[in-house]
């Protein structure tokens, strides 16, 4: 066995053993955090929890949550778990929704993170024979550094391309026979598109697999990438706060992403009440980092909504699987009883070739929710005949229905007519709030 494992002992550890390992690590980690991170010690004290109250993973729910706001408040050193002299690296989030978050790493933290990425690479078939082209951005962003380090651990020949300069990406891919591609799904789609425009067929490249993450993408997009590049496309999940890409990864089964549970405990909670939900229920994903020294976050609320599954996986890994994030907890709307996330709408628009510039208007008329989406039409779709536009609206409506499960009314509007705002755009206008409806 063990053909596609990087660390078979951990990846296929029997569940009982895994729970025992998590418990031991948790007790140790809570003690480490309580002693070294004043910010979290204050949170624990405020809640009346002492390190000795945490005897194993069954006590995890007693610990306070950490939110993104805590990270901003504690910026930059407030959550540091070691002396700065023991840290060797900083990575940072993009900071699109507010102040940046910086995460610190000791050499041991980096090794653990790179091991996680190596597991993801080996799971898609990477070996020391492979040529791994990393075109995630390098720098503060964790994408480039994570997969680069993982590829080194596997022993693949690593091409540290970073993102952009697509002509050069293609030249290296062809001249140096890249076999594994790592980048964002939208960039993979773009590379595939460009290859086709240049007259290359999918079989002209040597690629066999790709690892694509860091942004939402759909199954349709996966099929397009697979077709254009002639590869199998795999998903990867991670966040800078917890380490970076590789917190969870897809195996050949492609039925959810295995969470590296020997390093991270995953919980699903009700985002409204904070109550821990049973496995299989949809809710907000919360991570506790068991091995991180420099930036040891306990019960960090990711705001990503997903579902976990313990169903046995044919790949042999025992790690729990998570679905692709279905959206952000703070953006979730309930329309006609169905959970709808702007990110889902955005990915349908991108897949259908529209600009991700849209406005959702929700209202309640005659006790029924109305659900309208304004979308900027493509310049080439406008003609002097209305059916040209109404047909596009119907197509987009079916694509939305397939993704969301409910039918929105699509209104195509003139290009560039939806106000662009600095920073976070106003995407949702929920008029039900005026009715005092609790939504």
């Amino acid at each position: 066995m063990a053909k596609n494992y990087f660390q078979p002992e951990q990846e296929t550890m029997p569940l009982e053993e895994l729970r025992k390992l998590q418990s031991e690590k948790l007790v140790r980690q809570v003690k480490h955090v309580y002693e070294n991170v004043k910010y979290y010690r204050d949170l624990m004290d405020a809640k009346g929890v002492k390190p000795e109250d945490i005897k194993g993973i069954e006590d995890l729910h007693k610990l306070p949550f950490l939110k993104k706001d805590d990270l901003r408040e504690a910026y930059p050193y407030g959550l540091l778990g070691t002396d700065l002299k023991d840290c060797v690296r900083i990575q940072s989030t993009s900071g699109t929704t507010g102040k940046r978050v910086v995460a610190f790493y000791t050499q041991k933290d980096i090794d653990m993170w790179e091991d996680c990425c190596a597991r993801a690479l080996v799971a898609v078939g990477a070996t020391s024979e492979d040529v791994c082209q990393v075109c995630y951005g390098y720098g503060l962003f964790t994408g480039g550094a994570g997969l680069h380090g993982g590829s080194h651990k596997v022993g693949s020949l690593t091409l540290p391309m970073s993102s952009g300069n697509t002509d050069r990406q293609i030249q290296f891919m062809m001249d140096l026979n890249s076999t594994i591609l790592c980048c964002t799904p939208s960039y993979a789609a773009y590379i595939g598109e460009t290859l086709r425009e240049k007259g290359y067929k999918p079989e002209d490249n040597k690629l066999k697999a790709g690892i694509f993450g860091a942004e939402p993408w759909t199954e349709e997009m996966r099929r397009d990438i697979e077709k254009n590049l002639g590869i199998k496309a795999y998903d990867i999940y991670g966040l800078t706060e917890i380490s970076g890409p590789g917190v969870a990864f897809e195996c050949e089964e492609q039925r959810g992403m295995h969470i590296n549970e020997d390093h991270f405990i995953a919980e699903i909670i009700n985002p409204e009440t904070g109550e821990v939900l049973p496995i299989g229920e949809k809710g907000e994903l919360v991570f506790t980092s068991l091995d991180k020294e420099a930036f040891p976050l306990l019960r960090y609320r990711t705001r990503d909504i997903c579902v976990l599954s313990r169903e046995k996986c044919s790949c042999g890994r025992t790690f729990v699987r998570m679905t692709k994030p279905l959206g952000r907890s703070d953006d979730m709307m309930i329309i006609r009883g169905v959970n709808v996330f702007p990110s889902q709408i955005e990915s349908v628009l991108l897949n259908c070739g529209y600009a991700p510039n849209y406005q959702i208007i929700v209202d309640r008329v005659n006790n029924t929710d109305t659900f309208d989406i304004n979308v900027e039409m493509k310049e080439e779709d406008f003609s002097d005949i209305p059916t040209g536009i109404t047909n596009r609206e119907k197509e987009l409506q079916s694509a939305m229905k397939a993704m969301l499960g409910i039918n929105p009314k699509i209104h195509l509007v003139a290009p560039k007519s939806i106000t662009r705002s600095e920073g976070k755009a106003v995407r949702v206008i929920d008029k039900r709030k005026r009715l005092g409806i609790n939504i």
Partner: protein
């Protein structure tokens, strides 16, 4: 031979039509013919004007979404049966008319009509062969 029509996307909102008529008026451009196609959400305003290129620029600079469509213009005698005659000719050759509308001004004994068909060249050829007088860009200005 085909003449240029300005097609403007108009959202069904207050003040949208004013923007269009004002920017054409301010550019000193004459409207020769117009028609509006509407749905519940939006309309498409179609114009034949004396200077299509300048009209397009004026409309775009006031934020309108505009495209130029080639249409067939015909000049027919202003008498009963004239329109029936050209419609019959096109029907005989299986040419679908997507839409049609008449010019606002009628000079003397002639009336002018705009026809939107899928294939302008074929339609123009057939109409010419059947003795129908076609309009050219220069005719629009002098109408």
């Amino acid at each position: 031979m085909a003449i240029k029509q300005i097609s403007i996307f108009v959202e069904n909102k207050e003040g949208k039509l004013v923007t269009i008529t004002d920017s054409i008026a301010n550019a000193g451009i004459d409207i020769r013919a117009l028609s509006v196609a509407d749905t519940q959400d939006f309309g498409i305003f179609r114009l034949i004007v004396t200077d299509p290129q300048r009209a397009k620029e004026a409309l775009e600079s006031s934020g309108c979404f505009v495209s130029i469509t080639q249409v067939v213009g015909v000049s027919i005698p202003d008498e009963p049966g004239s329109l029936a005659k050209i419609v019959n000719i096109l029907a005989r050759y299986n040419i679908n008319i997507e839409y049609m509308y008449a010019f606002i001004a009628v000079s003397g004994k002639e009336a002018s009509v705009v026809l939107r068909v899928a294939d302008n060249e074929t339609a123009e050829k057939i109409l010419t062969e059947n003795g129908v007088k076609l309009l050219e860009e220069k005719d629009i200005v002098s109408l």
